[in-house]
């Protein structure tokens, strides 16, 4: 029995985390694995939550470890999302146990949307991943939830300056385990209590919450099912009154998501295993704003239904085949009102804080986007090579309620299209000598248009799939003293990207086109020391360049989130219940389009910028040194964990955006967080 459980765990682990997973947690003494050897995807990194939350700068938040891994551009204080290997933030995906969620972080990145106590590991594949996943041009962040304790009642409660959280778990009999957790923020209220009211109108600090519920049921031997509910939400309201009615700003935003899924797993006697994950969820994003009385509104409600199922079976000693299906259906109802140019799209010319364009319109529409993506992956040992070919065949149904703008109460004529995509993927690994692995991966990737872009007034209902080709190659070396070094080069080609039409008078229902192209290329290094003698840490460095252009153009410009150098060095030391951590980060500033002059709009009474070369300058580079001290104290059956996180210890003034004076003749910067000390306490039972 024990061997079979270990076998099941090992096989499932190999399925979920083929990358190098390191942990100081005790491992089973005996493991018999008949599955194929693990493949190594270049650039991929896996961090266990217990390790991630110790790292300085994460503030005990395991999900925030992603920003310390290679291949990831630094997100600014004003958000920006995940930029993996130069892909746009909306072009990468985040999954929890295989179920896609819309965001990894709350608001402006202060917290992850899952508490660390709910997370088992975070797996980052910035690109060139296998055929099991698709629908994205960029990378993939996979989060797996923690298995619940097998016995007893456990709980934790904690708070710091940002939020308060609690979790309880219990084992009911031998077969049922349950856990519930919740968290709510109070940082905005703390700032409001000690700072002038206008501060929250300038610095966006959303109020957030999240909650999780997990129930696991052991069925037969080597068979289990779990039900999981995830939810998270953010809200932000800002008002900037002004004596000038044209300068009065009011903004209210809300975003939330919920996911409910079942996860069925069974290990079969022949070494095969089955994983089935049906899910449904709801996403809501609403923004109501007014700038000088000009309304700006967006409201999107999306229902999502999906199924991820896979059957993994060893065919021979050297061949393991995984067949499965990844299906997702989403129905979105959307409303938008305001200027076409707000929010700005990648490629638009604008300056931070610029008022929206004076032209306004309104539209409401709905979309159905259904994708069924069967996939087949074979993992084969051919001599010294581990070859993993894969094929994914997606069939997208894209429907829109209107193909032209609304005229009065005239019923709209909808559109419906079937868009097939065939995505071959390949990964090859070889170990020419002990402790050295050379690997290469690549493939094609397709992404459907977003529901927001399918509106006939602000977008284009006839958009088709965008494409990407990923290629990567690298080598990893395991050195003495628990040190691993991995070097990876990557190249990503992007095609049919959705961009704004550059025409002053585009065709009807064609404000967006698919004339965007681009490339990203670079190399990354990860030198990582596993926990040994109390010392652990890593150095992650990425040098890259990401460019964009309109189809047919001979020259390219920098991508808006391009960062040439991103360096993160972390180290930690554990000693007698104390944990000391340090992290240093350096990142090249993001490109911005310089303002080279201005003219006066006498009708609005406002200067307008004259732009220079698009993305022709950069924000100054970012540096920050973070420290973390943690002490765990045992009090009878409880453990009290006290922590102090100090972010930006040297109080570096890191510019996050450029702001200009009234006539754009002088510029200054909005700085990011200064030195920020966050005390936290957590009691665990």
């Amino acid at each position: 029995m024990r061997g079979r459980v270990a076998y099941m765990a090992a096989v499932l682990a190999a399925c979920s985390f083929p990358g190098a997973a390191h942990s100081d947690e005790p491992r089973p003494a005996e493991v018999t694995v008949r599955a194929a050897p693990r493949k190594r995807d270049p650039g991929r990194a896996t961090v266990r939550a217990a390790e991630a939350r110790r790292v300085a700068g994460t503030r005990d938040d395991a999900l925030r470890i992603v920003e310390s891994l290679p291949g990831v551009a630094r997100g600014g204080f004003f958000g920006g999302g995940l930029v993996l290997w130069g892909a746009a933030p909306g072009d990468s995906r985040v999954t929890v146990d295989g179920v896609e969620i819309p965001v990894l972080y709350h608001g402006n990145g202060l917290r992850g949307v899952l508490p660390s106590s709910f997370v088992k590991a975070i797996d980052l594949a910035p690109g060139a991943y296998g055929a099991e996943y698709g629908r994205a041009l960029g990378g993939l962040v996979r989060v797996t939830t923690r298995e619940l304790p097998a016995e007893g009642i456990h709980g934790s409660i904690g708070a710091d300056f940002l939020d308060a959280a609690g979790m309880v778990s219990a084992a009911v009999g031998d077969r049922v385990r349950a856990s519930a957790a919740a968290r709510t923020s109070h940082f905005d209220r703390l700032v409001a209590a000690v700072a002038p009211p206008s501060v929250l109108d300038v610095v966006p600090i959303p109020r957030y919450h999240d909650y999780q519920l997990k129930v696991s049921l052991a069925l037969r031997e080597d068979e289990a099912i779990s039900a999981v509910l995830l939810g998270a939400g953010d809200a932000l309201t800002r008002t900037q009154p002004s004596s000038d009615p044209a300068n009065t700003r009011v903004e209210s935003t809300e975003s939330s998501f919920q996911r409910f899924y079942l996860r069925y797993m069974r290990a079969l006697p022949d070494g095969a295993n089955v994983v089935i994950v049906p899910f449904f969820g709801r996403d809501r994003e609403r923004r109501d704003a007014s700038f000088g009385g000009v309304p700006q509104a967006r409201d999107t409600l999306t229902w999502r239904y999906g199924l991820r199922a896979s059957y993994r079976v060893p065919i021979t000693r050297d061949v393991v085949v995984t067949a499965g299906v990844d299906a997702l259906a989403s129905r979105a109802s959307l409303f938008r009102q305001g200027s076409l140019t707000l929010p700005p799209r990648e490629g638009d010319l604008y300056v931070f804080g610029q008022p929206p364009g004076s032209d306004i319109n309104a539209d409401d529409w709905s979309t159905n986007i259904v994708d069924v993506g069967p996939f087949l992956v074979a993992q084969m040992r051919l001599g010294p090579f581990l070859v993993t070919p894969g094929l994914r065949a997606d069939l997208f149904l894209v429907e829109g309620s209107r193909s032209t703008p609304r005229v009065g109460q005239t019923p709209g004529i909808g559109s419906s299209r079937l868009l097939p995509a065939l995505d071959p993927r390949l990964s090859v690994s070889v170990s020419p000598v002990d402790h050295v692995t050379i690997s290469a991966s690549g493939g094609l990737y397709h992404q459907p248009p977003s529901a927001e872009d399918l509106g006939p007034v602000f977008g284009a209902p006839n958009l088709v799939l965008s494409r990407a080709a990923h290629a990567s190659a690298g080598a990893s070396v395991r050195l003495p003293a628990g040190l691993d070094v991995e070097v990876t080069g990557f190249f990503v080609a992007l095609d049919d990207l959705v961009v704004r039409s550059r025409l002053p008078t585009p065709k009807l229902a064609a404000a967006l086109t698919q004339d965007g192209e681009g490339e990203s290329f670079g190399m990354q290094v990860l030198a990582r020391r596993q926990l040994r003698n109390g010392l652990y840490g890593w150095i992650a460095y990425t040098a890259s360049r990401s460019e964009r252009r309109y189809a047919g153009e001979r020259s390219s410009r920098l991508f808006e989130h391009d960062q040439t150098h991103v360096l993160t060095a972390t180290a930690g030391y554990e000693w007698r219940g104390w944990n000391f951590g340090v992290r240093f980060r350096h990142a090249t500033g993001a490109p911005r389009t310089p303002v080279v002059g201005s003219f006066y709009d006498t009708t609005a009474g406002r200067f307008q910028p004259i732009f220079g070369a698009q993305n022709g300058t950069r924000l100054p580079s970012f540096q920050a040194l973070d420290l973390r001290v943690q002490k765990a104290i045992s009090v009878r059956r409880a453990s009290v964990v006290l922590s102090l996180d100090v972010t930006n210890v040297t109080n570096q003034h890191n510019p996050e955006e450029i702001v200009y004076n009234y006539d754009f003749s002088r510029k200054s910067f909005i700085s990011g967080l200064p030195v920020l000390a966050i005390l936290g306490a957590r009691v665990e039972l």
């Binding site: 000009v294 364009g357 309104a362 039409s501 008078t505 585009p506």
Partner: protein, 301 residues
């Protein structure tokens, strides 16, 4: 201790994120084009319009300066967020005959095609109106090395309205009118005072107004409701002076606010001097009026 740390932390957060204090737009330190008044402020294609520019320097008005005028001839692409295409800073213009602060010109006959909702034959996207339902012909103004644009409101049809809405709009629409400033009044310590005897280093409160009819009510097409809705103009007053500092650079009344006056505080210079003051009134639909005053700031006798 924990409370003290949190307080310090919050203050640092606040101090670190805020941008530096902005410069004052109301202080005239060099040549500026402050406003252009079009008469009438809304015109049909082919109609004649008189334009008057308010060009100023720290030494007062430049009534005799050379001014270059030109109609913008390039609509802005969708990728630009500004009010005017950058092409109109270059050669994409039609020059207007005249080189003084006042000129008269005929609104181009194709203005509703270039800047309005009329599209070429075929299925093209009509341009979007502004929040007041208006379309505008940009006119470039160049003087003393400065470039400005005035957006002349043009009378065009609605973009793809339902038939009944188009009929109703044709019946109810009325061209915009310029608002008119009433004379400036000054108060020191609540008492009316003369503009030629303002105290050095003192606080003065100015008040200007307009007539109740200047905040016009007009029908505008609401693309969300696909119907006409009545809107009311918001009136804004911009203040400019060659010395001293205003409480607000711009003050005004929103469309819901029926008051017909605004006031603004002004800190007079610390030395006796002559100060030039300009007040510009805008109605949000291209209607403009402006007035100029000379202030004498004097030490107490």
């Amino acid at each position: 201790m924990k409370g003290a740390v949190s307080l310090v932390t919050m203050c640092l957060v606040v101090a670190g994120c805020l941008p530096a204090e902005a410069e004052r737009e109301s202080l005239v330190t060099g040549p500026r084009i402050l406003a252009v008044r079009s008469e009438p402020p809304e015109s049909k294609p082919g109609a004649s319009v008189a334009y008057e520019a308010l060009v100023v320097t720290p030494d007062g008005d430049l009534q005799g300066t050379a001014v270059g005028w030109a109609f913008c001839a390039a609509p802005k692409p969708l990728t630009e967020n500004g009010s005017v295409s950058t092409a109109c800073l270059g050669d994409a213009v039609r020059p207007i005959v005249g080189a003084s602060v006042t000129v008269t010109a005929t609104t181009p006959t194709d203005t509703c095609s270039l800047f309005g909702p009329e599209t070429p034959p075929g299925d093209f996207r009509p341009r979007d109106p502004d929040a007041t339902g208006g379309f505008y012909q940009p006119i470039r103004v160049e003087a003393t090395g400065q470039t400005a644009f005035v957006l002349g409101r043009i009378t065009c049809n609605l973009p793809n309205p339902p038939l009944d809405v188009a009929v109703e709009f044709a019946e109810r629409r009325a061209p915009n009118r310029n608002p008119t400033l009433v004379p400036l009044r000054a108060f020191v310590n609540g008492a009316p005072t003369s503009l030629d005897a303002l105290p050095v280093g003192g606080d003065v409160r100015f008040e200007v107004g307009w007539s109740a009819d200047d905040a016009e009510v007009y029908p505008a097409f609401d693309p969300k409701m696909q119907a006409l809705v009545d809107q009311r103009e918001a009136l804004r007053v911009s203040w400019y002076a060659t010395a001293g500092s205003f409480e607000s650079d711009v003050a005004g009344r929103s469309s819901e606010d029926l008051a017909t006056t605004v006031s603004n505080g002004w800190r007079t210079p610390d030395e006796a001097s002559r100060v030039f003051l300009w007040v510009v009134l805008r109605d949000g639909r291209g209607g403009t009026d402006f007035a100029r005053y000379t202030l004498d700031v004097k030490s107490p006798p």
